[in-house]
Every structure is written in structure tokens, then in C-alpha cells.
Symmetry: C2
Subunit: 268 residues, 2 copies
């Protein structure tokens, strides 16, 4: 029975697809069978990264560890409520099938509130939510008092996860391990970083997530998109010249992140 | 007859709301009557920034230049095609009303493909699209050959703008001035920055946009969200202590960006 990881955050550009790609490659490199689902049918960033990877593999006659992609069929019902129910059901069925045949199921959720995204969240064993170091991103989790810094009322995405947890509990699934991960961290802006960090610690207790070590802003996490490669694919033999201090630090960040996810198939 | 600015990019987190807030404040500070519309009904970042601003104004008994917000009513039709037509029509009607009563209409589009977003794009006089310095963001404009760097087939967002331009032409509106603006630029990553820059110049010719000076990654563009303030509100008298080299550079960036938009009401 595969372990379901949903990479979710309704906030656009938080780093969901970037994270999905790197987690998928890390798991595939460890020898796990990874089933992948890209719920953003317009952008398809997650799929596109691996389409580029397949093309690179072909032109370089190299095998690169890659997940198996699955595809959600579009709803056909005419009435809105029927189309939503159709999409919800199709998502559950597909994820269940992916679980039966793979060690890891990785779902890249869209930066929007859709029935498929909600259904996927309700199937998650691990929910990983990247977050920019910004109160603009934080605002989708909870309100915050500008003067006292006190965390207030939960906001739209926290409510979506709350709903997903209720649904998972109702279907007797194990509790969702909600992991928040700061992304695109800059070595500068110490004051803003500390304020966001404090707000996250305060909120973690209240709405039930844990904060994992995050990823810094590094060009290496995005500059190889057109080739479909990640830094995990750069090996000493093949690309010794490209290794810099930043790459070594990036490898460590990714390693720490994967460990922090405590994924059962990786025996953590 | 007001000038309609749509801040659009289907790619999440490109910087639409951040840009919308700063353009709105810049125009309001210049004395223009600004009408604002936030099409992201879940996140409402644009609205939230000004809700925070209103609260700050109240507690500090200060008037801060602020746009007038308008709200799109939700579609009620049961069938999907009917709800989409309803949303499209409501958007057009609302933007027309905003144009009649204000100098500037500013629409913050969502990071998703919605009927309201498409309708707003088709009403734009100026379409401003921020873009992260990344081939992941670029992928929504066009494909790119990883080896030759050659720009290929236009992608989902370029097609959306193409459709909007056809609709505007059909309704005898003046052509949409499509301005692309790089956002969150880092002083590092010279090679990736150059490659993205070259791809943008090549694409600009083909799909008809111009590239304006962009914004660097600066904490000042986001750290005052909870107070609803922008660096444009920091004046020498009130906040001399906060002025740093970065703030002066940020002011210059914003000024250059607004000038580059060549907005008729600003007499450019
Ligand atoms: N740690 C990082 N370092 C550098 N660039 C990053 C990092 N994380 C994300 N990015 C860049 O930030 C942008 C947004 O990332 P990404 O597309 O992964 O976010 P997303 O949450 O999937 O967005 P969407 O809501 O549109 O699906 C992309 O241009 C990506 O290349
Ligand atoms: N120039 C910048 N410097 C620093 N931070 C920025 C800059 N532009 C945007 N950000 C930050 O990047 C994140 C995404 O920005 P923003 O919310 O404005 O994007 P968006 O395109 O409106 O996203 P969405 O698709 O979710 O509507 C936010 O955390 C914001 O604070
Ligand atoms: Mg994505
Ligand atoms: Mg936004």
C-alpha cells in the first residue's frame, strides 16, 4: 500500500511543483516506485519537467530515475454540482489505484481551490506545504495582528486542510502528517524572516502542522527545468565542474528536507 | 473614460498582487481616482492589503491614498456553460461601470484560468504581466529548446492573451499594450538571468509584448503587508530612520516601472 504525499498550498508560486519534482526524483533515485499526478491541467509544470527529462534521456541515451505519471480524466457533467462530484470521485479512484501499484504516490496540487485538489488532500498520508517567507503567503493560513504579531483567525487554506482532515478521519484513514516548509529563503531580511518564523511556530500548535527545514532561494532549483534535470542527477563523474559551494549546500538542504518528511518507505 | 490596467499572469506567484498594490498606490498618490477589482475571490490578497491599510489609517488617524474597491457578484446558474457566461457578462459590466467613474481601473487577475480573468483581459488597455526569472514561469508563455535556446510554440498564457486581443479587436477597442515585467530579480545568477532575458527578447517580437524594467527581490515589497503600507508611503519626515540604500533603489525601480507603463492619465 503506497504512501500518499500531496504537495499542496492554495497560494500561487509557493514552490509546489519545484518541491514535487525534487521529492519525486529523490524517491526514484532511492529505488522506490513513484506514481505521479499533476493536478494543474493548464500549467502542467510537474509533467513538463519530466517531459523535458524524457527528451534529455533520449538524446543522451541515458536512463534517469523517473516517476510513472497518471492522468485524471476531465469531468463531463453539465451541471456544476455534478461535475464537481465527478471530479472528486475520479480523483479518489485514481489515487487508490496509484497506491496499489507503487511505493510512493506524489500529487502536485494546483494553486487554486478545485474539487480534485480537495479530494487529493483528503487522501494524503503526508501533506507538504511550501511557503514563501512572506506575510502575503502566511495570510492564506491565518490572520496576524500587525502590531502585536499575534496569530488570529485561520484562513482559507488552513480551513481547506481542516476539511480534508475531517474527511480522512471519517474514512478511517490515518491522520494526515502536515509538514510546512519555508521556501526561497534569502540569507538577507533577518527581521522579516524572524517574524514569519515566530508566526509559524505560534500557528503550528494551533492548527496542527510541524515545520520542516526549508529550501533557500537557489538558481540550481530552477535553472535545469528545460533539460528536466535536478541537482540530484549531477554526479561527481559527470559534472564535477558544476559543483560549487551552493550545490553542496543545496544537496544538504534537500537531504534534510526528505529526512524530515519521515517517509515510511524510506524507512525513516 | 478610465484607462484599464489588468495585472495578469496565469502562473502563480509571479507577483501580480504585489504589483497591483504598488501601481494602485502610485496612481492614487499622484491624485488619480483609482477603481480596483480583485478577481481572486479566495485569496483576496489585493483587497486584504487595503483592508490592512484601512485599519492602519484608522488606528493612526491618518488618511492614506487608497483606491475604491468594487466587487464581482458570484454566478448562480446551475449549468457550467451558463455560469461561465454569467461570470463573463458580470465582469464586462462591472469594468465598464468602473471606467465611467474613475481615471484608472486596476484589475488584479488570479493565477488561474477563469471566465472573469479572460473577460478582464479582453477589456484591458494595458496588460502588465510580471514574471519570475525562471524557465518554469517562461514555460507558460512558450516552449524553449534546451540545447539551442530557441523559442518554440506559444503556450497556455500566450494563447489566453491572444484570445483576449481578438475579443478586444472585435469589440473595436484599442489594441492591448502588453507589458512584461521581470520580478524578484536577484543580483546573483547571471547566466540564468541572461538566458531568460534572451528568451524574452526573442519571444517579444513574435507574440507582441514589450519588456519593461522590472523589480528586484526586496523585502520592502512585502514586509509591510500586515500594516497595508508600501515604500511609497514612507516619507522623509515620518520614517527617515527606515531609509536605506535598498529603499532608495526600490523607489527608483517603482518609478521606472510606472513610467514604462506609459499610462495616459499620468500624461506619459
Ligand atoms: N527554492 C527555490 N529557489 C529558486 N527558485 C525557486 C525555488 N522554489 C521555487 N522557485 C521558483 O519560483 C517559481 C514558483 O515555483 P513553483 O512553480 O514550483 O511554484 P508552485 O507553487 O508550483 O506554483 P503554482 O501555484 O503556479 O503551481 C518558479 O519560477 C520556480 O522556478
Ligand atoms: N519584488 C518582490 N520582492 C520580494 N518579494 C516579492 C516580490 N514580488 C512578489 N514577492 C513575494 O512573492 C510572493 C508572490 O507574490 P504575489 O502574491 O504578489 O504573486 P501573485 O502573482 O499575485 O500570486 P497568485 O498567483 O497567488 O495570485 C509573495 O510572498 C510576495 O510577497
Ligand atoms: Mg505548480
Ligand atoms: Mg495574487
Amino acid at each position: 500500500m503506497g504512501h500518499v504525499i500531496v504537495v499542496g498550498n492554495e497560494k500561487g508560486g509557493a514552490g509546489k511543483s519545484t518541491l514535487s519534482v525534487h521529492i519525486a526524483v529523490a524517491c526514484a533515485i532511492s529505488g522506490l516506485k513513484v506514481a505521479a499526478l499533476d493536478l494543474d491541467r493548464r500549467q502542467r509544470t510537474f509533467e513538463r519537467y519530466f517531459e523535458n527529462r524524457a527528451r534529455w534521456s533520449a538524446t543522451h541515451e541515458t536512463e534517469l530515475p523517473t516517476p510513472d505519471f497518471f492522468y485524471l480524466s476531465k469531468a463531463t457533467a453539465e451541471r456544476r454540482v455534478d461535475a464537481e462530484a465527478e471530479e472528486t470521485e475520479a480523483t479518489r479512484t485514481l489515487i487508490a489505484a496509484m497506491r496499489d501499484s507503487h511505493d510512493i504516490v506524489l500529487v502536485d496540487a494546483p494553486g487554486a481551490d478545485t474539487p480534485a485538489s480537495r479530494a487529493a488532500h483528503a487522501c494524503a498520508d503526508t501533506l507538504v506545504s511550501p511557503l514563501n517567507d512572506s506575510f502575503i503567503d502566511f495570510d492564506l493560513l491565518a490572520e496576524i495582528d500587525p502590531v502585536t504579531g499575534e496569530v488570529g483567525k485561520p484562513s482559507v487554506y488552513a480551513e481547506m486542510v481542516w476539511e480534508a482532515r475531517k474527511q480522512k478521519a471519517a474514512s478511517r484513514g490515518k491522520p494526515i502528517d502536515w509538514v510546512l516548509m519555508r521556501n526561497r529563503l534569502s540569507p538577507l531580511d533577518a527581521k522579516n524572516k524572524r517574524r514569519v518564523g515566530d508566526a509559524l511556530s505560534a500557528l503550528a500548535q494551533r492548527i496542527g502542522f510541524r515545520v520542516a527545514p526549508g529550501l533557500s532561494e537557489r538558481v540550481i532549483y530552477r535553472e535545469m527545468f528545460t533539460a528536466g534535470l535536478t541537482l540530484l542527477d549531477l554526479t561527481d563523474e559527470g559534472a564535477a565542474a558544476t559543483f560549487t559551494l551552493s550545490h553542496v549546500a543545496a544537496r544538504q538542504e534537500l537531504r534534510d528536507l526528505i529526512l524530515a518528511l519521515k517517509l515510511p518507505p524510506l524507512g525513516e
